[in-house]
Amino acid sequence: MSTITYREACRQAIRAALQADPRCFVMGEDVGRYGGCYGVTKGLLEEFGPQRIRDTPLAENGIAGAGVGAALAGLRPIVEIMTCNFSLLALDQIMNNAASLAHMSGGQFAVPLVIRMATGGGRQLAAQHSHSLEGWYAHIPGLKVLVPATVEDARHMLAAALADPNPVLIFEHIVLYNAEGELDEAVSAVDIEHAKVRRSGTDISLVTYGNSLPKCLAAADELATAGIQAEVIDLRVLRPLDSATVIASVRRTHRCLIVDEGWRSGSISAEIAARVADEALYELDAPLRRVCSAEVPVPYAAHMEAAALPQVADIVAAARALVSPAG
């Protein structure tokens, strides 16, 4: 066991991928000389050289398109999009090409592209750099959408993503980069198919992902002091969604609170709620409920930003209301 930051785990993952496979390379804005906007690729240019750590122009559609082309041609590109809001400029390549070509070619072409993006709010980056768009991307068939929330997933999901013949998007939460966690050296790989129970409980399932995971775990600690045993599910993968793990948890707890930093309307949280209602209605002993971000562009001012994003107190209050409304 060693303690490591999430950022360092991401960097180790990229380094290991570059070492393991000569077809693998990194490209993106400021990934080389500057070391990445969030410092993830710091030092890699010196270690692997400019052929494999490539700084690109500020042109996301071009970067993503080059990534699709490289993947089609047999390489294993790791594209970094600085923050997920910029990925909107690359949406045409991601959705119309990366996600579609395998289907349009009848399986003749695979697009083994990995795109890493920073996501989420909480660092006062205001309305244009604080989005949580992973739920949007989870709407698109042909993509896989990963949301690592632990150092272990940050360290090992990349290898699984590169091994997958489909385009895979990895959303790294900007608040998590500085988070520290224990990395078990005995673990050498993780799957990118299943959600995980991060804490067992009997009274309510808190279903979440990304930076809302530590918030839910903190909320579960607080709920435990009030005698409420919350089970915390880390989705890990938003597409394909592992509903079976969620449903199994709801069958144990009979209550479900979904915590999602995305906006509520039309969100992945709505999709999860719909699946629970569909597959486990008769297991529910309380309404399905969600804690999501306020439906506003994320504010800049710290107190307003905090008010707009899901917080531990919101999760605790919502869970208590579902479990023991009188108390």
Binding site: H254, Y282, E283, D285, A286, P287, P325, A326
Partner: protein, 397 residues
């Protein structure tokens, strides 16, 4: 191909449980046949079919299903057998392009919620497994918003383990559960008082002529052919309703719809509590002896919990008669979506002025509670006068 649906046996019924089929797939059925038995809070109801043809695709027994659920299909003459799905699919395909209108969901939802216990899906299922009557859980919810949740069901079982668990199995259980019926009455009457602007009228009727006529009729006949005063009241009301059809029908979708016939619901109090008001069909067209037979049969079957679906679905107005040991007068509560209820108190001797002279006469208090959205007191007064007039000429009834 036509569908045979779970009937609505009154505004207070949302679901029913099919407990017995009296026909087999492929049997020929005709209009008015009793084909199935459905359990409701008003007892086991013999359900009639109002289709002619060959019945098929019978739904499985012992499932609680919403009103309107397809229970079987009926192939009408000229049609050939088709698979079950074909009965549904063409209608869906042929449906016109829907017109999208903005409708507030609120009123519909609140109406649908009337009488529906607030209970979590898991608790509802658990209660069913344990045989706990939902009525026993009403008001005991400790969940969010007072909803009944799993722990409340478990608590109910530990409170009354023997009582709470009802017998299961597909035996047709005749009779009814007083607690369930009480809940249904509460829901229907609560809705009535919330939604219907009642107005009330009362009048005194000299029952002397009717009593005299009855005594003479009954004196010549053995007990089984004798008539009760109630039959005269029923017929007099039916007669008056012919002249004032605005009281005989339903308030639905913001307007009044007159009933197709005069089918008064006759309020029958049940031994052990509760009441039910099944229809006496076409009361205006039946003779007094016919009405007496119908009423005796209806009371007997209502108390045995063995009514027919049309008797619960069709009442177009309610009549309540307190009888010889009842109170002097009654002001009724309308059973929605009906628009009126007529009540009769006890006949009793009273001082009364006849032709300018004080006399002792048997007097009968009659009352009308009616829906002000449909009629006004002026018309209501005319209806009561019509009933009083009819009772002055019992030989014409």
């Amino acid at each position: 191909m036509a569908d045979f649906l779970m009937p609505s046996l009154g505004a207070d019924m949302e679901t029913g449980k099919l407990v017995q089929w009296l026909v087999k797939p492929g049997d020929r059925v005709k209009f008015g046949d009793v084909v199935a038995v459905v359990e409701t809070h008003k007892g086991a109801i013999d359900v009639e079919i109002f289709l002619d043809g060959v019945i098929d695709n019978l739904a499985p027994l012992d499932q609680e299903v919403p009103v309107g659920t397809v229970l079987a299909t009926v192939r009408q003459s000229g049609e050939t057998a088709a698979p079950a799905v074909a009965a549904v699919a063409p209608a869906a395909v042929a449906a016109p392009v829907p017109v999208i209108t903005e409708v507030s969901a609120e009123p519909a939802r609140s109406a649908a919620n009337v009488g529906r216990i607030r209970i979590s899906p898991a608790a509802r299922q658990r209660a069913q497994q344990l045989g706990v009557e939902l009525a026993a859980l009403a008001g005991r919810g400790t969940g969010e918003g007072g909803a009944v949740c799993l722990r409340d069901v478990e608590a109910a079982v530990s409170r009354h383990p023997a009582e709470a668990t009802a017998a299961t199995g597909s035996d047709v259980h005749r009779g009814f559960d007083p607690a369930q019926m009480r809940q249904a009455i509460a829901a229907a009457m609560g809705r009535s008082k919330r939604e219907i602007p009642h107005y009330y009228l009362t009048d005194s009727i000299d029952f002397g002529a009717a009593a005299q006529w009855l005594a003479a009729w009954n004196a010549e006949r053995p007990p089984e052919q004798r008539l009760l005063p109630a039959v005269l009241l029923l017929k007099a009301c039916a007669r008056a309703l012919l002249a004032y059809p605005q009281f005989n029908g339903f308030y639905e979708d913001g307007g009044f719809r007159a009933a197709a016939g005069i089918h008064p619901g006759w309020a029958v109090s049940l031994r052990g509590g509760g009441l039910v008001a099944p229809a006496i069909h076409d009361a205006d067209r039946q003779t007094l002896p016919q009405l007496m037979t119908a009423m005796r049969d209806l009371v007997q079957r209502a108390r045995a919990g063995s009514l027919r679906s049309s008797e619960l679905a069709d009442p177009s107005i309610t009549l309540t008669n307190l009888g010889e040991r009842g109170a002097e007068s009654v002001l009724g509560v309308i059973y929605p979506p009906q628009v009126a209820i007529i009540g009769f108190g006890r006949v009793q001797p009273r001082p009364w002025v006849v032709d300018g002279q004080l006399a002792v006469r048997p007097l009968l208090n009659v009352s009308l509670a009616a829906d002000h959205r449909v009629t006004d007191g002026h018309l209501g007064g005319q209806l009561l006068a019509g009933i009083g007039d009819a009772l002055q000429h019992p030989d014409t009834l």
